[in-house]
Symmetry: C2
Subunit: 177 residues, 2 copies
C-alpha cells in the first residue's frame, strides 16, 4: 500500500472488475498487459545477441526487444528496439513467435529478421552486441527463458518461409494448440 | 488539458521520453498500447457475429473480442470475450491475424476457433448473436474495418491448417511483409 497515486480498489461505473483509483485526484489506472516486440536477427548463419547493460539480468545475453510504445505497430517496435539496443537496421520477414508471460502480464511478439544494412554496435542498454553461430551461443548466459524459446523457434523454422508463429513450449503456461 | 490526474508531460528519471505525470500525487501514467484478443468462430460453414449493445458502433456487427486483462494470455482473453459477448465456449485452432491500429495504440490478436460445446446467446454487451453464411454476412453493418479484414482472412485460410497470420491489408498502415 502506497500513500500516493492510484491505490484504492473500486469497480468504476460501467466496468465489471476492480481497478486501482486515486482518492486524491480520481484517476483510474486501467492496467492492461504490456506488449514486447523483438526480433531474432540473423546475418548469414549467425544470430545477433545483445549483452544487457541494465537490470534485470545485467550481463546476460538477450534478443533486441522491448516494450511497445504508443502509436507504434509491433513491427515498428521491433525495428526501434533493434536500433536502440544494437544500432542495427533490420528487415522483418515473418512473425516467429507469440509468447505469453501472464504472471507479469506480458505478451511478446518476436519477429524473424535480417540486417537491412551492414553494421551494428552496442546501444546504451547493451554492454556488447555480437553474432553467434548456433554452437557458439552462450546458452548458460541467456537472460530470459523466452530468448531460448525464440532461438529454438528460429532454428526449427530455418528453411520455412510460411509457418504459424510459435507459442510457449508445452507445459510453459499454454500448450501449443 | 484536464485539471486532475496525470496531466503534466515530463521525462521520468531513467526514461527517454515524456510521460504524463500527476503533479498532485506524483503518479507516472506509463501508457502502452492495448491488446485486443478476439476470434472468428465458425459452426460448420457459418460464422458467429455479435450485434453490439454498447458504443462505439452500437447496433453494428462485430466479432467476439475485447481488451486483454492483466495476467491473461491472448488465448484466454479470446475465450473470455467469446463467453462474455456470446455465451460461447470456444476451441482455438490457429492465430488468424495480428492487426495494428497505431492511431489508437491498439494491437489485435484474432484467432480462428470453433464452438467447443453447442449453444450461444447474447451476453450483456450484445444485442444479439447469430450465425451467418458468407453470403448472408451483413457487410454494410460491420462495426470496424478489422472485423472485415478478419472475415476475409478466415475465408482465405478456410482449408489451410498451417499458415502465417494475416496483417493489415496493403496500404492500411503496414504492408504485408
Amino acid at each position: 500500500m502506497t500513500d500516493q497515486g492510484p491505490r484504492i480498489l473500486t469497480i468504476p461505473a460501467g466496468d465489471d472488475r476492480e481497478r486501482l483509483t486515486c482518492p486524491d485526484c480520481g484517476f483510474v489506472a486501467y492496467e492492461n498487459p504490456k506488449m514486447v516486440a523483438g526480433s531474432v536477427v540473423s546475418v548469414d548463419e549467425r544470430i545477433m545477441l545483445c549483452r544487457r547493460a541494465i537490470e534485470p539480468r545485467k550481463g546476460f545475453w538477450t534478443l533486441p526487444a522491448g516494450f511497445l510504445e504508443l502509436n507504434e505497430t509491433p513491427e515498428e517496435g521491433a525495428r526501434r528496439e533493434a536500433w536502440e539496443e544494437a544500432r542495427a537496421r533490420i528487415s522483418i520477414n515473418a512473425l516467429l513467435a507469440v509468447y505469453s508471460v501472464p504472471r507479469i502480464s506480458q505478451v511478446q511478439l518476436i519477429y524473424r529478421a535480417t540486417l537491412a544494412e551492414p553494421g551494428f554496435e552496442a546501444g546504451p542498454e547493451s554492454l556488447e552486441v555480437a553474432l553467434f553461430t548456433w554452437a557458439d551461443i552462450p546458452w548458460n548466459e541467456i537472460a530470459f527463458p523466452s530468448v531460448r524459446w525464440a532461438l529454438d523457434e528460429y532454428k526449427a523454422r530455418l528453411n520455412q518461409t510460411v509457418f504459424a508463429p510459435g507459442v510457449n513450449p508445452p507445459g510453459m503456461v499454454v500448450d501449443r494448440f
